[in-house]
Amino acid sequence: MNFEILEHPADIGFRARGATVPELFANCAHALVSIILDCRDVRPTERFGVCADGSDYESLLVNFLNEVLYFVDGRRIALGRFDIGRLDENGIECVAWGEPRNLERHPPKLVVKAVTYHQLSVRRDDQGWVADVYVDI
């Protein structure tokens, strides 16, 4: 998957890439889930609507990832696939696929409290779209 882990004195972050904005958002969602649990063996047996709004790509990304976090931490769902539908700076509609979390097949790694605005950045470079995101653990 297209992301790398970033350093923070107390917590953890990631840098994700995508050729397009929807691909970037999907890769960010994958990065977040992979910080929380081992997601190499997630079966896409159930679908969930994950929607969020925002006022720009940054706030949209934070709100979207916090919604993903709600499903993984609150509803105890391991999510493994993100099909992004409509996406503009004000809103995102996504169908996420996964299954109930299973301690054996999805060993937990870290409990993420929240996705933050700390040093958040969504930008375009010569290879496509890049996002830096830090989460509180």
């Binding site: 350093e7 870290l110 605005y117």
Partner: protein, 478 residues
């Protein structure tokens, strides 16, 4: 603003003067020794303390404790008071883990009595107190119960079989603040309901410790602490419920800041006027989150009692010494420049430290001051302190909350093996059980500042006084 250059006030205090070009409304005051200041300057925490100084309605300086380190928006180890009438409330100034805090429990056992059965005890606690990283807690709530927990906090747990009446009386605020559970989203309730009575992960832990050294015999006697006595320190918070409350209100306040003509250097500082509907809703929801945290620590203590009973055939007469929170916003009154002011004290990684005679401390501690517990890094040492009058004059009744982080998680993991580190602890007489292997590595003492040095600063600055130093014997973490 150019590079931040703190100016020394005295041996323990530094000032960053107000700079209008950085939109600061007040100074920053940092409590630190020369050595700690060198470490503090290595991350972004001073920039964050400067950003806090831009909050509308801030009263007195933006304060930084000696354990300050980089957080999100606010630095961790920061204190900011805002005027209740014309100031703001900032969910980021409380943090995602609303009412993360520490409770210290005394036992009737000595180190010599516990040491031979330490392995059994640590294993039993690990079985009985859920960490909750992978699953659910053991407190089952019927429909409608959660709202009662959010309103009644520790008292609900006590009234429903999870503790003794005395437990709730010995928590800050009696273990419950006036709350508005209907201002907590269903999403937050979903995240929290199954996690009640769980320790959590990250830097949360439970430690079996013994009193190594007494520094104040009178205060120790009031807390019924003796040298060699075994105590248990519980460090946990409001779990997913509190995290979601903060997330919800940071999002809401980012939306409404424009309406109130507020613009800030960091979106994570998102805030609204304390008197606005959004501010009031947040304070009601935050209080509900805080109550959930008190109930949570009460649940953990209840399961701990069971573990002691199973191992020692009696419950070791576990009694709560006190329970303090270090992530909260509280309405309190202070004299500022000769005028009485009602303020909202945001304590983000800072502990309340009220002096002797304050009406909000239990009668048992009226003459010694409020007990303050400062957990060190895993497996080093923790401290018991009592609040002092100077904290009321200088820091809105606040002191530090821990050792303060120094290294990132990956930096401390690099080149280290969990089994080797576990063995090193064992060689020092400390048993460590962690739900995840990374949990041990990421919280190694090397990742933190020296807690004794942090305590030296607050003690010598007169904010709190040393009572006892505690040494760990067994560590349970997520």
């Amino acid at each position: 603003m150019t590079a931040i250059e703190p100016i020394r006030i005295d041996r323990w205090r530094w000032r960053i003067p107000r700079d209008e070009s950085a939109r600061m409304r007040t100074d920053v005051v940092v409590y630190a020794s020369t050595e700690l200041m060198e470490q503090i300057r290595k991350d972004q925490s001073l920039v964050q303390a400067v950003n806090v100084a831009t909050l509308p309605g801030i009263v007195g300086p933006s304060l930084a404790m000696p354990d300050i380190h980089q957080g999100y928006g606010f630095p961790i180890g920061g204190v900011a008071a805002t005027d209740v009438e014309y100031g703001v409330v900032s969910p980021g100034g409380v943090g995602f883990d609303i009412n993360c805090g520490v409770r210290l429990v005394r036992t009737a056992l000595t180190e010599a009595e516990v040491r031979p059965r330490l392995n059994d005890l640590v294993q039993q606690i690990f079985r009985d107190v859920p960490c909750g990283t992978g699953g659910e807690g053991r407190v089952r709530l019927a429909k409608g119960d959660l709202d009662h927990v959010l309103r009644e906090g520790a008292r609900w747990m006590v009234n429903n079989g999870y503790g003794h009446q005395r437990d709730a009386e010995f928590a800050e605020a009696g273990g419950a603040l006036p709350a508005l559970p209907d201002k907590v989203s269903q999403r937050a309730k979903d995240r929290g309901a199954s996690q009640l009575g769980t320790l959590g992960s990250g830097n949360h832990f439970l430690e079996v410790q013994y009193v190594e050294q007494l520094h104040d015999a009178e205060a120790a006697a009031a807390m019924q602490l003796e040298a060699g006595q075994v105590v248990v320190l519980i460090h946990s918070g409001s779990r997913g419920l509190g995290h979601q409350v903060c997330t919800d209100y940071v999002a809401l306040m980012n939306k409404v800041m424009g309406k109130y003509d507020i613009s800030l250097p960091d979106r994570q500082l998102a805030c609204a006027p304390a008197r606005s509907p959004e501010g009031q809703d947040y304070l009601g929801a935050m209080a509900a989150g805080a109550n959930f945290a008190w109930a949570n620590r009460q649940g953990v203590m209840h399961f701990l009692r069971g573990a002691f009973q199973r191992v020692f055939g009696r419950d070791g007469r576990l009694q709560l010494i006190y329970d303090v929170c270090h992530n909260i916003a509280k309405r309190e009154s202070y004299e500022v420049e000769g005028v009485k002011r009602d303020v909202l004290v945001h304590r983000k990684g800072a502990t309340r430290a009220f002096p002797p005679g304050h009406r909000e401390i239990p009668a048992d501690y009226a003459e010694i001051g409020q007990p303050v517990f400062i957990p060190g890094s895993m497996g080093t040492a923790s401290w018991v302190l009592v609040g002092r009058q100077k904290a009321m004059q200088e820091t809105f009744g606040s002191v530090c909350h821990g050792a303060g982080r120094l290294l990132s998680r990956s930096a401390v993991r690099k080149g280290r093996d969990a089994r080797v580190e576990q063995k090193k602890f064992e060689d020092r007489g400390i048993l460590v059980r962690s739900e995840t292997r990374d949990g041990i590595l990421e919280e190694l003492p090397e990742a933190y500042k020296d807690v004794d040095e942090v305590i030296e600063v607050v003690h010598n600055a007169g904010l709190a006084a040393k009572v006892a130093r505690l040494r760990p014997m067994g560590v349970i973490k997520g």
